[in-house]
């Protein structure tokens, strides 16, 4: 009879971790940026002072000149450093719920449409296509008109435009996975459709989902920033990078730092998510590794 003649070599924890790092080459810079984002977002109040207090005596101080305000102050004297760091928190507070809700809705729709086919698929996809057909900014503006600006408005607006992307992507994956023999066999076996979606389809689309999440976070951040920039997102004065860029717009040549620094941070964070998403996609790709 056949015998398995390989025994896995036992590595110590440390050796295993080092080997994994060497084999998979994680994107250090991106990971550092993301870690800093998370850290600042979670512990903002312990790191910096109050981002909301105006200090009219300390208005428009340029960066790197005053030890108390390393990144300068804005038009009304609010400390830039504090605002930038608290901006991380806004990012987390807006993107996290939006992405989570969007992916829950999108995955459910995609799974159902992809597996059920027929009229269920047609109806769901028409709704999805309609949502995708509108430019996200427009839809967001429309929603914000009804719900109002501010935190909740932004989250609803962002979720409403993002779920459709997930739905489309997941449906595509499901269409191909459902043809694989093991799904067909489960159907023959009499496994219920819900079980098939849960046990067979979901785990095999999760990889795509994870990659999509990392890439969509960048989009969501940009969308929020754009909404804030247009004045229909967070309220002015809030420490959100989009707002900050907008505020500095009028006096770009004189108080350039008010717009530049938040702009740089937006760029860095979005790029970090994109690099991470790319790395994740390669990491999870069964053809490049032996299998996941």
């Amino acid at each position: 009879m056949t015998s398995m003649n390989f025994e896995p070599i036992q590595l110590t924890r440390g050796q295993a971790v080092r080997k994994w790092i060497k084999d998979h080459n994680p994107p250090w810079i991106a990971l550092t940026i993301l870690f800093l984002l998370l850290f600042c977002g979670l512990f903002a109040n312990f790191i910096v002072g109050d981002p909301m207090t105006n200090d009219l005596k300390a208005r428009q101080i340029p960066p790197f000149t005053d030890i108390k305000h390393i990144f300068g102050t804005d038009i009304l004297g609010k400390d830039m450093t504090a605002r930038l760091v608290f901006g991380c928190r806004s990012v987390l507070m807006v993107t996290a719920p939006s992405i989570i809700v969007a992916l829950l809705i999108g995955t459910a729709v995609g799974l159902l449409a992809g597996y059920a086919r027929g009229w269920v698929d047609s109806v769901l996809m028409r709704i999805t296509d309609a949502t995708l057909g509108f430019p996200s900014i427009l839809v967001a503006m429309l929603i914000v008109t009804f719900v109002g600006t501010g935190y909740t408005g932004v989250i609803i607006a962002v979720t409403a435009t993002t779920w459709a992307r997930f739905a489309r992507m997941i449906r595509g994956e499901v269409l191909s996975v459902r043809e694989r023999d093991f799904v067909v066999l489960a159907g023959i076996l009499g496994v219920s459709p819900v079980m098939i979606m849960w046990r067979h389809l979901m785990p095999n689309v999760i990889n795509t989902l994870m990659v999509m999440i990392s890439l969509m976070i960048g989009q969501v951040i940009l969308l929020e920033a754009s909404l804030s920039f247009l004045g229909i997102g967070m309220s002015p004065g809030e420490p959100a990078w989009g707002i900050m860029v907008a505020e500095g717009r009028q006096q770009l040549l004189t108080t350039w730092w008010v717009s530049l620094f938040p702009g740089i941070l937006i760029t860095l964070v979005v790029m970090a998510f994109n690099f991470f998403g790319d790395w994740l996609r390669d990491y999870l790709d069964p053809r490049l590794r032996r299998a996941r």
């Binding site: 056949t2 023999d181 093991f182 009499g190 095999n204």
Partner: protein, 328 residues
């Protein structure tokens, strides 16, 4: 046909037609794909019944009918004497656990995200209420039966070779103690030296558990090695049916003869007389009237292709379509 008492599955004048429509909103019928067009046979308990034929002959569709993946257009299939179309819900569920399948591609048959234990146990948990301990016991027993070890249960499919994955697929199929297994090219995707291992395993299992197999295979030697009955199909019809010794030793239908002559020799000196068919395989959309083989048959002049097709018993247990049976 064969003794009714021993019959597990009886197929009677089975037809499956797929309409071909044009237009997205107002669908107009432009043709019909007659995937199977009047097929009858019996699968006996503990025996292997093989379907042989080339692409488009309808063998895959026949298995779909037997597996109840799709309903037939016409005709009756009985399981242990009962008409499958009339199954009540519990009868249908019981049927699903009694009939299992093993497919050709060992890389696509197993969910890469599931452990081997869960893969093998899935049929059990779908149909029975069992405790975790019972599941483990049965999974380990099944792994032993297919020549693998209990410690394989913790692993994932990608850690195994093609032959081993096929064994896992067989273990899964055995898990609900089925009476019939549908084997669709079970060894074609495996390495030559592994094929014998898996075929022998299937033979042993058949003897131990009185399993019936409905097998599709294109390799005639494999069919001969495994089968008790063989049906040769062409364009949705059976053109010849009998036991392998007779079919391969004394083929009557020209298509059977062509298939055998196209089979590769087992020794360079044993070259077969070549019967090369003219033309391409016609499409199953609106096949020729009368004998479906008439467009490629080298003896069509001597036959009666205008008559409707139907099997005639030329010797006990050996049936041939009447078109090629010379009229006396």
């Amino acid at each position: 046909m064969a003794a009714i008492d021993n019959a597990l599955i009886q197929v009677n004048d089975l037809k499956k037609h797929y309409p071909v429509t044009k237009g997205a909103i107002t669908k107009t019928l432009v043709g019909t794909v007659k995937a199977i067009d009047g097929v009858s046979f019996t699968i006996n308990k503990g025996e292997t019944f093989s379907l042989v034929g080339e692409s488009g002959c309808g063998k895959t569709t026949t298995t779909k009918m037997i597996l109840m993946s799709e309903p037939p257009t016409e005709g009756v299939i009985t399981y242990e004497g009962a008409d499958m179309a009339q199954f009540s819900s519990p009868a249908r569920k019981e049927f699903k656990s009694s009939v299992q399948a093993v497919f050709q591609d060992p890389w696509s048959s197993l969910n890469p995200k599931m452990r081997v234990r869960d893969i093998i146990a899935e049929p059990i948990v779908t149909h029975e209420k069992v405790t975790n301990n019972e599941i483990n016991e049965r999974v380990n027993e099944l792994l032993g039966v297919v020549g693998m070890h209990p410690f394989h249960a913790e692993r994932y499919p990608h850690e195994f070779s093609g032959g081993q994955r096929q064994r896992i697929a067989i273990a899964r199929a055995l898990s609900t103690r089925p009476k019939l297994m549908v084997l669709d090219e079970p060894v074609s995707a495996l390495d030559v030296s592994i094929r014998a291992q898996v075929l022998n395993l299937l033979k042993e299992l058949q003897q131990t558990y009185e399993l019936s197999y409905l097998m599709i295979a294109h390799n005639l030697a494999t069919v001969k090695y495994m089968s008790h009955q063989v049906a040769v199909m062409y364009l949705g019809k059976i053109v010849e049916l009998g036991d392998p010794k007779t079919i391969f030793g004394d083929p009557q239908h020209p298509y059977t003869k062509a298939l055998i002559s196209a089979a590769l020799p087992s020794h360079p000196r044993l070259q077969r007389e070549e019967l090369v068919l003219t033309g391409e395989v016609p499409s199953p959309i609106d096949p020729p009237a009368g004998c479906v083989f008439r467009t490629r048959c080298p003896y069509v002049e001597e036959h009666q292709p205008d008559n409707e097709m139907g099997l005639v018993e030329v010797s006990p247990g050996h049936w041939v379509d009447k078109c090629s049976v010379p009229c006396k």
